[in-house]
């Protein structure tokens, strides 16, 4: 099972490496979108520090959603997705492998870039650390939920926009706890409750989302 997971992940990473620019587009979007806010809102440090956790989290959310349709789209176009669905190997593991590859190509770069953007927003060091940790826990959740949405809207004309509408309400708890953790640290309180809940959300999503995405793939391909 682990062998299958790693094989699928390795394949998707290889394909992402062949189109490096496409894989880095979400990161580019994240940087540009987050960078627009200080320009639009004004450079006052106090305001920026207040809006920073929310802005960074929402931009990370949108960036993750942008690239998640690619998880299944290219395989769907050349027919290899149907082969994966028909194969005797468990589809849940294949989906989990694809999600892992997606997180490695778009989630990890977001987590690594977030501290730099945090500096642009004049956040305190402790807040930046908390924000990075919440994104580390949160970006897998976004990849997992995005996989469910991508599987449900596979091959539809308005698939990308529809997927946003479907998945974003589901990601709201992660958003609330992620930004709440940074808010707590800013106020001098402990972020433990928020981080625990975020971790619980991650575990719950890890257990449920690959199952739901696999079921959605079978629904979409029948």
């Amino acid at each position: 099972m682990i062998g299958l997971l790693l094989a699928v992940t390795r394949r998707d990473l290889l394909m992402a490496r062949r189109r490096r620019m496409e894989a880095l587009l979400p990161l580019g979007f994240f940087v540009v979108a987050a960078g627009l806010f200080p320009i639009g809102v004004g450079p006052e440090s106090q305001t920026l520090r207040q809006i920073a956790p929310g802005v960074l989290w929402v931009c990370a959310l949108l960036a993750a959603m942008l690239s998640v349709t690619q998880m299944f789209a290219s395989d769907h176009h050349d027919g290899s997705l149907e082969q994966m669905v028909l194969a005797p190997q468990p589809l849940v593991v294949v989906v989990a492998g694809k999600v892992l590859a997606h997180w490695l190509t778009s989630g990890i770069p977001l987590v690594l870039t977030a501290p730099l953007i945090g500096v642009l927003f004049d956040m305190r060091a402790q807040s930046i650390v908390t924000l990075t940790l919440t994104l580390l826990l949160g970006t897998p959740i976004l990849s997992l939920l995005g996989a469910v949405g991508a599987a449900l809207t596979l091959g539809l004309r308005s698939g990308a926009a529809l997927m946003f509408l479907l998945v974003l309400p589901l990601t709201v708890p992660a958003l609330i706890f992620g930004t709440g953790a940074v808010g707590a640290v800013d106020a001098g309180l402990s972020a433990q409750a928020h981080m625990s809940l975020l971790g619980a959300l991650l575990i719950l999503t890890l257990l449920g989302a690959p199952l739901a995405a696999a079921a959605a793939l079978r629904i979409s391909l029948d």
Partner: protein
């Protein structure tokens, strides 16, 4: 007629039954509604703290209860249709969705109009209001997804999966006032303790809830229009449902 548990799984028979019951639902809704309004306005006294503004409760609470209940019923029947390949169940779920969305909208709208004079604000992002708003987005997402897919069976099954994933929101809405410090008041009615509300207000509220149940059923029955002709019950609808009689039960994971 021989009544079996699955008699009304045939769209033609369900449509006929719904047509027969519709005038009764109209009557029940009007009866309960008018009685509830009478008790609510003529008999229930003015509230000590909120004055007459509290009378919005006779719409707000039934609408909120309905919004949650309809979603649960929708998810149940959509899942039933998905698991048992039951066309009628999926049709019922799709018919319920717009009604549920409208009830959620009414709950949010009347809540805002009640909040302005009593809390001083139209809206606050506390747990209950946020999760009810998310419920509205979930209804809209379900409608959007089922409308976007052309194949009716794929649309119904995809919607069922989406509805099931979203069911987790309902307990969050319900228990939000207990789990978090919210501006929205806590539960005044429970199964175990005496209600903290004046009995006349309670009666009126329950009467209005009973009215909205038949209203929902009355609307949903005519909405199940697809291929529900009574002339040929065996073949109508199966053309677009693509039922393959030889398909085995499929594994989903």
């Amino acid at each position: 007629m021989n009544l079996r548990p699955n008699t009304f799984a045939a769209p033609s028979r369900f449509y006929a039954m719904a047509g027969t019951l519709t005038p009764w639902f109209w009557a029940a809704a009007l009866l309960f509604g008018l009685t509830g309004l009478y008790v609510g306005f003529a008999i229930a006294p003015t509230d000590f703290q909120q004055g007459d503004a509290y009378r919005i409760i006779f719409i707000h609470v039934p609408a909120a209860w309905m919004s949650m209940l309809i979603y649960l019923v929708l998810a149940f029947w959509a899942a039933w249709g998905w698991m048992l390949n039951a066309r009628m169940a999926s049709m019922y779920a799709r018919a319920l969705a717009p009604t549920g969305a409208l009830f959620t909208f009414i709950a949010l709208w009347t809540g805002a109009l009640w909040g302005k004079p009593t809390w001083g604000t139209w809206w606050v992002w506390d747990a209950r209001l946020t999760s009810e708003f998310i419920l509205l987005l979930m209804y809209l997402g379900y409608i959007a997804l089922t409308e976007a897919i052309d194949d009716p069976r794929r649309a119904a099954n995809a919607g069922a999966l989406l509805a099931l994933v979203g069911v987790v929101n309902i307990p969050i809405i319900y228990f939000s006032v207990r789990w978090w410090n919210t501006l929205h008041q806590g539960a005044t009615i429970s199964m175990t303790a005496a209600p903290k509300m004046v009995s006349t207000m309670l009666t009126a509220m329950l009467l209005m809830t009973s009215a909205s149940g038949p209203i929902v059923s009355r609307w949903c029955s005519p909405a199940l229009g697809r291929s529900c002709s009574s002339r040929n019950p065996t073949t109508n609808g199966s053309r677009d449902w693509n039922v393959d009689p030889l398909a085995r039960r499929r594994r989903y994971t």
